[in-house]
Amino acid sequence: MWRRWTSVLRTPLGVAATALTLAVLVLAVVAPMIWTDNANAVDTGNILAGPSGDHWAGTDNLGRDILFRTLVATRLSVELALAATAIAVVAGLVLGTSGFLLGRRAGRLISAGINIAVAFPGILLALFFAVIFGVGATGAVFAIGLAGAPAFGRLTHTLVAGIESRDFVSAARIAGVGRPRILVRHILPNIAEPLVVNATIGAGGALLSFAGLSFLGLGVQQPHYDWGRLLFDGISSIYVNPAAALAPGAAVLLAGLAFNLFGESVAKGLGVGVVGGIPALPPAPPALATEEVSVVEAHHEDTDLVLDVRDLEVTFPGRRGPIRPVRGVSFGVRRGEAVGVVGESGSGKSLTALAVSRLVSETGRVDASRLELLGTDLRASDSRAQRQLLGTSLAMVFQDPMTSFNPTRRMGSQLAEVARHHQGMDRRSALARAVDRLRSVRITEPERRARQYPHEFSGGMRQRAMIGMGLMGTPALIIADEPTTALDVTVQQQVLDLLQAIREADGVALVLISHDVTVVGEVCDRVLVMYAGRIVEDLPAGALATDALHPYTRALVAAVPDMDTDLDQPLAVIPGRPVDPADVPPGCAYAARCPLASARCRTEDPALVDAVPGHRVACWHAGEPIDVEVADREQVRVP
């Protein structure tokens, strides 16, 4: 615990707050011992004087030195604040634990009472109690203490409720230990730390509140004085000697800030650690190897390309240098074609989709030697024309339809927005188009549905609405990133059928990203297999089952259970674990897990080359037979 408390010293603000808190505490002890006489010395020749060599902060209406009085007042101010905090914590503990001690019914009543009391600001409660306890220091201590009690009560209640359900408390209860004993032995020690931290912050608050009450004349009464009282006396003569108000004001402020910031810094130290700086990205690397460019030259001659991607790289800054989860990906998608992208999580397939659609978060950098949608270069900076093209010609469907709609806006307006911004439609016709699109994705009663909020839609309906949103423009390409993963099995097929129907009706191209080889095989014409940020195989979907050449593709296909799978045997797996993008080995990234790997694989990275026309593979041992026993020996599942 001490180590964690001292973690406060790691931030400059924490160091300053700690030093200031210690200084205030030392002053509280020492100041009255040294300076009481100076503070009470009456200098009748110097009444209400401004700052001078004798009196640095001037004098009050009896000619007493303001600075000494301010210093001496530290003790009373801190004492009263600590006393009030102690009352608040004790009363809060009683309130907060009474629910646990007295049982459910009484507990509910008390927590309801606490909730009502917490709704009232502290100063109002303090005034209320100040009236009851009477004007003066004692009354004010109780007033501020009790005013703080509901907040501590609620905190304690929350903390107790968190511990109460833990196993060791249940165990103690089953063992027949009484509730008071459980509270003292098991619960209080576990909630002590947050309570102490909050009490420290509370002490800062109490100090400021006390100054407030004394400033109103309701707290400390003459001849005693705390900072608030000095402020109260000083403000009336602020035009004569401003220092008389400013000195105690500054003292209150510094002490209040010190306690408060010290508590906050400790709280932060006990919670999340401070994140260090991350080095910036180096300048863009020079143009990529020419070897691969020539490989995809064939695609470029194809004028039917909707999407043309070459040497795509995505880089993020990392602690130990840049991380490159996508390392040179080249592919094209023709009009109306359905291309599937498969791979384990972390293979870079989703990031490839985000990079192509220019949605990679701003911390990452996207580089490519070519990135074209319908012949328009997407690498250029964000222009209005480019936004309009992407907004109307490219539709995105994301994995989780639950979180992908804005919960505070009606469905209809979220769809209509696209037409309003990109097609310049007015509100009414944009909404009419939205209703029409909802109907086109088979949502019943689209007029009524358009007026509803996302939470009123079911998951499958939301995903269809997301597709409908993509159809607000006239998309040439739909990129769907795991569109069915978050959905119920029974509605997955509906969504896939819908995508298929749109494709057939309008000749829209589809890029379907999935970890599910079966789905991709069913829906798509062509499949890209990704591994460690690269395409390792690009083959017709029909060839997937029998004619795959890359050992990784063959392992993925083999890992899918079918009707003939013997369920008594463990499911087939790919041995080893996926490559960490921060630490990609030299040579073929798959070599470590590959049953065919040779010495060459570990040093030289194979390029993606045509095996037969329309079938590319990046492997030195493409198509070689695999010794099945080797693959089955280890027990790591495909994620």
Partner: protein, 333 residues
């Protein structure tokens, strides 16, 4: 959940119009408001009876003749049984009768209605000023310090807003009086006679809450900008303005309002101290002088008015929350 919600749910069976989420939301909030009001009224009634000793004797002073004290006690009904007094108190409240000041002999309702407008103006203006500063500042800071951006800006803003947020309003007031009143002489420092006189009190009340609110909005904005639906909005290629203000802001405000609501009711109560710095002729300066004069009838009434103000603000915040984010009406079911 709480006593209030259980009261509301028994009065809202799930049939017909009562099962509509908005109706049930309304009933639940009404129930909570009524329970809180009852607690408040009862507390303010009990206040006079919890004061040690005889409040009439305390108000009139030790030299007042016993006959006068006895007569005044009889006037106020202080010799009746407690429940009878409680019943009369409630009856009088419903007719707008808040009793008579023991010091000035004026009807308390008259004192309150004279003083209330000045306090309302102060609180309302300060609230508007705080929101007008905090929302644009919080959104701007959120955008500037979104993930991977502006670490230095974030540190500077967070540190300064924490510090400014801790400074209590009356100390801000003292500082403003010194700088703009004593030194520069730009603004008057007492009363509310001229429009310029509003500047310093409103600022003292608004600065702290504005800093806290801006900080909350920034944090919410940063987390909302990471949300999936913001990615969807970006996928729709909306202009930055539409993404930040149309999609991110309403969601950031929802969470900010929950915490900001407490801040608003604190501002209502903050008028007490600020009014005393600036000799503002409102309820805040009246309650303090009445406490010092032991004019408990007036204190009791003003506590009640402040309490009702806080409850009204809290209820308005809840309703605003429900309008911005309709899920919050459902979430509590």
């Amino acid at each position: 959940m709480t006593l209030a919600s259980s009261v509301a749910s028994t009065s809202a069976p799930r049939v017909g119009v009562l099962s509509h989420p908005w109706v049930r939301f309304g009933l639940r909030r009404l129930g909570r408001l009524l329970v809180s009001l009852w607690v408040l009224v009862t507390a303010s009634f009990l206040m006079i009876h919890l004061i040690p000793g005889d409040p009439v004797r305390a108000a009139l002073g030790p030299t007042a003749p016993p006959a006068l004290v006895a007569a005044r006690r009889a006037d106020m009904g202080l010799d009746d049984p407690l429940l009878v007094q409680y019943w009369h108190y409630l009856q009088h409240l419903f007719t707008g009768d808040l009793g008579t000041s023991m010091i000035s002999q004026l009807p308390v309702s008259q004192i309150v209605s004279q003083r209330l407008p000045a306090t309302l103006q102060l609180a309302l203006l300060a609230f508007l000023a705080a929101v007008a500063v905090a929302v644009p500042l919080g959104v701007l800071m959120g955008v500037l310090t979104r993930r991977g951006h502006g670490r230095r800006t974030e540190l500077a803003f967070t540190t300064s807003s924490v510090v400014v947020g801790i400074v209590p309003d009356f100390l801000v007031g003292v500082g403003l009086v010194y700088v703009f009143g004593v030194n520069l002489g730009w603004f008057p420092v007492a009363g509310n006679a001229t429009p310029e006189a509003y500047v310093l009190p409103v600022l003292s009340l608004a600065i702290g809450p504005a800093a806290i609110l801006a900080r909350i909005i920034r944090v919410e904005m940063v987390s909302v900008l990471e949300a999936d639906f913001v990615r969807t909005a970006r996928a729709k290629r909306l202009p930055a303005r539409a993404i930040y203000l149309g999609h991110a802001l309403p969601n950031a405000l929802t969470a900010s309002l929950t915490l900001g609501g407490l801040l608003l009711s604190a501002m209502v109560a903050g008028t007490v101290l600020v009014e005393n710095v600036f000799a503002w002729p409102g309820l805040g300066s009246t309650i303090v002088s009445s406490i010092l004069n032991k004019d408990y009838q007036v204190v009791q009434a003003i506590v009640l008015v402040y309490g009702v103000g806080v409850l009204v603000v809290n209820t308005l915040v809840d309703v605003a929350l429900a309008l911005i984010d309709p899920r919050s009406t459902i979430r509590e079911d």
